[in-house]
């Protein structure tokens, strides 16, 4: 579904991604871990199409299409979803309008008619129940005045409504207390499906207790330096990253 080959990218003249190779198949959950500044968020943003990053080499194939040739909005409509680490507040743009516009953009791209207003509300309500969100969220501005946890829940709500083929969740677990973490994890698990895939970018293995990954990768200095199964995450939790970084340098 997602095939990344030798992806290199820089911002403001500084190279951040140094040749990423990654293969994500339908039905899989991948976790990308790594120390601060290793390029995890850059990878997420580059895949979602943030223009400030310049891709200098490599290719990315998404569902048979050249992802890097598509603008951000087209990637979204093709079924790629980025859950932001720091979801931006947009006062004046209503949450429910954004959800509806996003869903309709995707449906139009797929040649489907716009969603019926009644069906749409029923769908959103169902997803909000999963995310344990109060209906008053809908009428508020996008993320406006939301707490850190509310913003992350809202990201997962959007994901559930849009049902992407590939969800890339950038540190969705950061800043969450244990109850919120469980709700978010439940949301992510709801999306798991043989036809979909999830890439979790995370610092800690805590989230992986609730969303069990098939593959774990360690990113450092813009490269994947080790891959393994879930036990790698547990080992990282015990030993930290230094042993990997040292052995790589040596």
């Amino acid at each position: 579904m997602l095939s990344i080959v030798d992806l290199q990218a820089r911002i403001a003249g500084k190279t951040i991604l140094n040749g990423i190779d990654l293969e994500v198949r339908p039905g899989e959950v991948h976790a990308i871990m790594g120390p601060n500044g290793s390029g995890k968020s850059t990878l997420a943003q580059v895949l979602a199409g943030r223009e400030e990053y310049e891709v200098t080499a490599g290719r990315v194939d998404f569902d048979g299409r050249d992802l890097l040739a598509m603008p951000a909005e087209e990637r979204a409509r093709a079924g790629l979803f980025l859950g932001f680490q720091y979801p931006v507040e947009i006062p004046g743009v209503n949450n429910v309008y954004l959800l509806k516009a996003a869903l309709n953009a995707k449906r139009r791209a797929a040649g489907q008619p716009e969603v019926d207003a009644y069906e749409f509300l029923a769908l959103v309500r169902e997803k909000m129940r999963i995310m344990q969100m109060n209906e008053s969220f809908l009428s508020r501005g996008v993320n406006e005045g939301f707490s850190g946890g509310e913003k992350k829940r809202n990201e997962i709500l959007q994901m559930l409504v849009l049902e992407p083929k590939l969800a890339i969740l950038d540190e969705t677990d950061s800043g969450l207390d244990i109850d919120a973490l469980k709700v978010v994890a439940q949301g992510v698990n709801t999306l798991r499906h043989p036809e979909r895939a999830v890439v979790l970018v995370t610092h800690y293995q805590r989230l992986l207790d609730y969303v069990v990954p098939d593959h774990v990768h360690v990113l450092a200095r813009g490269r994947i330096i080790k891959s393994g199964d879930r036990s790698l995450a547990l080992e990282l939790e015990r030993r930290g990253y230094d042993w990997l970084l040292e052995s790589k340098v040596a």
Partner: protein, 447 residues
């Protein structure tokens, strides 16, 4: 601020022609006051960019012209048809009373019997002929002469207009439509509207200024007088062709505990100079001045808002939101003066601009002068482009770039729009604003 004539424009064709118009007019019951206004206007001359309040707006195109008074016999007796884009602004509006001024002269209005005891209307021409003393006090020009010279010229030369007197709460808005008539582009008209809200009365007033390429230059003045405890929500909206020019002065005088909420919206025209002078004269008076300026094409919008606190416990809020695309220029000058004795005055000023193209320019200038103790005043001004984080967020959800941009611009203006309590008016203004954004169709569906 200089009180000396501006030398550059002192001998301009426009100034000479205005003096000629002045000399040719017949005397009336206000001659002494008019003469004084004209004397001051001539001494000040036409503004140039050397004048503080006109720094960003060059009136060369106006000062180079020779004006004439509208020819006799061109007066309209009925309201002309409105263009579709202007008619949209009135959709859904169910006014309690409507007045139309054609080239500044009111055409006969429908009976106000249903509003007996709540609203009275009179043409200024009638009042001038019969009770000039009733108008005289309302001719005082604002204290800031530099900004007020067009108001002085209006006081000298106006010969018609409207006086509305509201004496109890009105159930629906009053519409004052100002449209151009047969007076041609070479003429200048000086419409004047006086709105009095007597103690305890309240009203919502929408003044819609419509301009065309071939219209006379309108040097309009509106004066709002709020008695004790009176409330007015006033809208002035400028709409129309790219070639249209508007010079409008709005003077607000507020007595004790009165409340004025004012919205200035520049949607059309080539040049819009919208001046507002609010005088908080009575204890506890509250004033809100909000402006929305949409610059597009080569439009120049210059909004000047001056709030003067002249009594204790007065409050003022000024919010300006400007967007500019093409090579347009928007100027937002917002000034608060707290005069001696206006203790415990509170004011807030917020000017924000959003540039939508490389060639556009926004100048936002909040100013504050405080001469009293125990006051609370806050101000801020920012101008920037669309927030790239917000834009990326919307794009990452699959929205078209044009839609995302429009949505963000609209959201930026929402601060002012949400304050509009006249529902029909707000919807109409929103629609007109949206119409100027890149993806109007989708955006309309959003609401």
């Amino acid at each position: 601020m200089s009180a000396l004539p501006s030398q550059g424009a002192g001998s301009s064709p426009a100034l000479r022609s205005l003096e000629t118009i002045w000399k040719a007019r017949a005397a009336d019951g206000l001659s002494a006051q008019r003469a004084e206004s004209m004397r001051r206007f001539l001494a000040l001359g036409l503004p140039t960019i050397r004048d503080e309040s006109w720094r960003y707006t060059n009136l060369r195109r106006i000062s180079g012209r020779e004006f004439v008074a509208p020819a006799a016999g061109t007066e309209a007796t009925s309201a002309p048809a409105l263009s579709a884009e202007v008619a949209v602004l009135l959709e859904g509006l169910a006014p309690a009373a409507s007045f139309t001024l054609v080239d500044g002269r009111p055409v006969p209005w429908p009976s106000l019997d249903a509003l007996r005891g709540a609203l009275e209307a009179a043409s200024l021409r009638d009042l001038l002929a019969r009770h000039p003393a009733e108008i005289a006090p309302a001719l005082r020009a604002p204290r800031d002469e530099d900004a007020a010279r067009w108001s002085l010229l209006n006081a000298a030369l106006f010969d018609d207009g409207l006086r509305l007197r509201v004496s109890s709460p009105l159930p629906a808005p009053i519409l004052v439509l100002r449209v151009p008539g047969a007076a041609g582009a070479e003429s200048i008209v000086h419409p004047r509207v006086l709105i009095e809200a007597l103690p305890g009365a309240s009203a919502t007033v929408l003044e819609l200024h419509v301009g065309t390429e071939s219209a006379a230059l309108a040097n309009s003045v509106t004066r709002l007088e709020l008695g004790r405890g009176a409330r007015i929500e006033h809208y002035r909206v400028f709409a129309g062709a790219d070639g249209a020019a508007f010079l409008d002065s709005l003077d607000v005088v507020q007595e004790e505990s009165s409340e004025c909420r004012q919205f200035t919206v520049a949607l059309g025209g080539g040049l819009v100079r919208a001046h507002l002078d609010a005088h908080l004269a009575g204890r506890g008076a509250r004033f809100e001045g909000h402006s929305l300026a949409a610059g597009s094409g080569t439009r120049q919008v210059d909004c000047v808002t001056v709030a003067t606190h002249d009594a204790p416990d007065t409050t003022s809020t000024q919010t300006a939101r400007a967007i500019a695309s093409g090579t347009s220029r928007v100027v937002v000058n917002s000034k608060v003066t707290v005069r001696p004795g206006a203790v415990r005055a509170e004011s807030r000023q917020s000017c924000r601009g959003m540039l939508l193209s490389q060639g556009a320019e926004i100048d936002a200038r909040p100013q504050l002068e405080i001469y009293a103790d125990e006051v609370k005043c806050a101000h801020g001004a920012t101008t920037g482009r669309l927030d790239p984080d917000m834009l990326f967020y919307l794009l990452s959800r699959g929205l078209d770039r044009a839609t995302a941009q429009s949505l963000l611009v609209f959201a930026f203006l929402a601060d002012v729009l949400i304050g509009m309590s006249a529902g029909g008016t707000r919807a109409a203004i929103e629609n007109a604003l949206i119409g100027q954004l890149p993806d109007a169709t989708t955006l309309r569906n959003f609401r």
